[in-house]
């Protein structure tokens, strides 16, 4: 068996009593776009900084191409990085910023001219090469930073929330650029973000970080369909959680009861749950529907509509259960109810039996 391209092995980082990263185990194949997704302080940036060489792990190892990179100082790791803040050298032109990594490697002028030209072409900023960083917009600066990080063909490119300072429209534009550049160069990318939409838009796979650990790794769709923990379910996609109590457990499925006594059978169960234990039922707003009568085939719950928001392609309907918990339903435009639903109506929320997930508390 060949060693994985990039391999985090039980990486742990503590500051005194604070554990910033713990048991980070991850294998990244060559050419993959891997995103570290999590709230701030979840350990995703710490893990990235350890790979960059700005911090040393308390224990564990990181291997690149089968060799540990920990003994190698930052400037010899050959890793490319785009930072959250603007880090272009303010005293150098765009061209000289991109040429910088090649100049410190003492490459020939001919080589430098050719590679800088190619890198600027890749980020589509050839006509800006004479400008100074202060004359560029934030988005342009980050694209130059990307060219600077790619010009020396790094084995892996790190991106630490590079778009967080930009407005939404520009962010989406540059996300498309990043995807295109990933496809054109085939470079392995580790991308850190706290924005789940950005993670879903960009990544081949996502590692969800929480409290210093990786909760789950998988494609966006896998994380959405099969969340391993309540945290992942909450972080990826929209969700509502309803209180429940487990009645019986059998082969990864559970029978459960809502606080008002409504029973559900055969719900996929995550985590170790025992009869009598409290649990939470995950409902995705776009995976549940509304109807005037609870139909027999599907699971259903009677609710009162509390708010209706028309959003063009869909209508978001807020509802309240008999025991006062809130949830929301996203009705597609094609659903006739999306036109007629009114506040105060009593309707039935229904879903496919395997469309909900139960998380033991």
């Amino acid at each position: 068996m060949t060693a994985p391209y990039l391999h985090f092995q039980a990486v742990r980082k503590t500051y005194g009593d604070v554990v910033a990263a713990d048991r980070v185990d991850l294998e990244v194949p060559k050419g993959e776009f891997m995103t570290f997704l999590g709230p701030s302080g979840s350990g995703k940036s710490t893990t990235l900084y350890i790979l960059a060489g700005f911090q040393e792990p308390t224990s564990g190892d990181i291997q690149l191409g089968g060799r540990s990179i920990l003994p190698v100082p930052s400037h010899k790791r050959n890793i490319g990085m785009v930072f959250q803040r603007y880090t272009l050298f303010p005293h150098l032109s765009v061209r000289e910023n991109v040429a910088f990594p090649l100049r410190v490697r003492r490459q020939s002028q001919a080589e430098i001219t050719q590679k800088v030209g190619r890198a600027l072409e890749l980020v589509r900023l050839q006509e800006f090469e004479e400008r100074m960083p202060a004359q560029l917009s934030g988005g342009q600066q980050q694209r130059v930073a990307l060219a600077r990080a790619l010009v020396y063909d790094p084995p892996v490119l790190l991106m630490d929330e590079p778009l967080s300072a930009l407005d939404k429209k520009l962010r989406e534009e540059i996300q498309l650029e990043i995807r295109r550049i990933h496809q054109e160069t085939g470079v392995t990318i580790l991308y850190v973000t706290h924005d789940q939409e950005e993670a879903l838009r960009l990544s081949d796979r996502i590692a969800v970080f929480n409290a210093g650990r990786i909760e789950q790794v998988g494609s966006g769709q896998h994380l959405y369909d099969q969340p391993a923990t309540r945290f992942v379910a909450d972080f990826i996609g929209d969700s509502a959680f309803l209180s429940a109590e487990i009645e019986s457990v059998q082969g990864g499925q559970a029978a459960m009861r809502f606080p008002d006594g409504t029973r559900l059978g055969a719900v996929p169960l995550h985590g170790a749950g025992a009869p009598g234990q409290k649990a939470e039922l995950l409902l995705r707003p776009e995976r549940i529907g509304l109807s005037e009568t609870g139909s027999g085939e599907t699971a259903a719950l009677e609710v009162t509509i509390t708010d209706v928001t028309f959003l063009g392609s869909s209508t978001d309907v807020r509802a309240e259960t008999a025991w006062g918990e809130g949830l929301f339903v996203r009705l597609p435009f094609s659903d006739p109810l999306s036109q007629s639903v009114r506040r105060g109506q009593r309707l039935w929320v229904s879903w496919e039996a395997n469309g909900a997930h139960l998380f033991a508390a």
């Binding site: 960059a52 060489g53 700005f54 100082p73 930052s74 400037h75 010899k76 790791r77 050959n78 890793i79 490319g80 990085m81 930072f83 959250q84 803040r85 880090t87 050298f89 303010p90 005293h91 910088f100 990594p101 100049r103 410190v104 490697r105 930073a145 600077r148 990080a149 020396y152």
Partner: protein, 282 residues
């Protein structure tokens, strides 16, 4: 828009009134005396430019000018070399240690100048602490002449000028985002390359304003050269004092003072032209 200006303007006029006392003080005790001195330099002993001719033609005075610029240049260079690492340390040190270092740098500024200069005389003289220590360890058989010469003046002045160089450099590099240096490292720059290609170029405005201040102050310095220097390497300020006090030659002294003022202002204008408004001097 126009109403805000209407409100803001009278307030600004009120503000300008407050500078009047300082303005009067400067006018009465700086501008007027300088003008008087200048007028005496072209009227004594008779009307004409003979004082300037004498200053620029005589070998004795040329040597004094040369020596003045040599000392000021040396002091500026050595101070900059010493101050940069101190300023950098102030930026990257943990808060408490940086505070301590800051206090040490500033403390020397707040101690009496004359006391500090006499202290150097004690340390540097033939039988002073430095020479005795060197001889005790057998590093030299005879005392090294450290005082009453160029070495003494340079050492004494570098020590006095250090804070004036540290503060402006600190003011500029404190504002450099550390992530820029991290980026340089990941781009493959060694520490030395990051220093030479990124940190130093970005610190240029601070170094320039510190250098200008130190150079200009050194040009006109009196106490330290008078006490630590020798008769063979007299500086301009000493010469002016001698002309005025001992020889009562106001004309020549005034001409020398005026040349010093013109050189200073030209240097300042040059810096404004090259670097722009000095930063970090506040």
């Amino acid at each position: 828009m126009s109403s805000t200006f209407a409100l803001a303007r009278p307030r600004m006029r009120k503000g300008t009134g407050m500078i009047l006392p300082a303005l009067v003080l400067l006018l009465a005790f700086f501008v007027v005396p300088v003008a008087l001195l200048l007028s005496r330099s072209v009227t004594e002993p008779e009307l004409g430019l003979q004082n300037y001719r004498e200053l620029l033609a005589s070998g004795t005075y040329a040597k004094i000018f040369f020596n003045t610029f040599l000392v000021a240049g040396l002091v500026t260079l050595i101070t900059a070399l010493l101050a940069f690492p101190v300023a950098w340390a102030l930026v990257i040190m943990p808060r408490l240690l940086a505070g301590l270092l800051f206090a040490i740098v500033l403390l020397s500024m707040w101690t009496n100048l004359l006391a500090r200069t006499y202290a150097w005389m004690v340390l540097l003289q033939q039988t002073g602490l430095i020479n005795r220590t060197l001889m005790q360890f057998g590093l030299t058989s005879e005392p090294i002449p450290l005082v009453n010469n160029l070495t003494g003046v340079t050492i004494g002045m570098v020590y006095i000028m250090l804070p004036f160089m540290v503060l402006p450099i600190y003011g500029v590099i404190r504002k450099i985002d550390p992530a820029i240096l991290q980026a340089a490292a990941l781009c493959g720059a060694t520490r030395l390359q990051a220093l030479g290609r990124v940190l130093l170029p970005l610190a240029v405005p601070g170094i320039a304003s510190g250098a200008l201040m130190v150079f200009v102050m050194s040009l006109g310095y009196f106490v330290t050269p008078a006490l630590l220097g020798g008769t063979s390497n007299m500086m301009l300020a000493e010469m002016i004092a001698q002309q005025v006090q001992s020889l009562v030659n106001w004309g020549l002294g005034g001409a020398a003072a005026f040349i010093l003022l013109v050189v200073t202002l030209s240097l300042y204008a040059l810096q404004l032209r090259l670097i722009g408004e000095p930063k970090g001097t506040a």
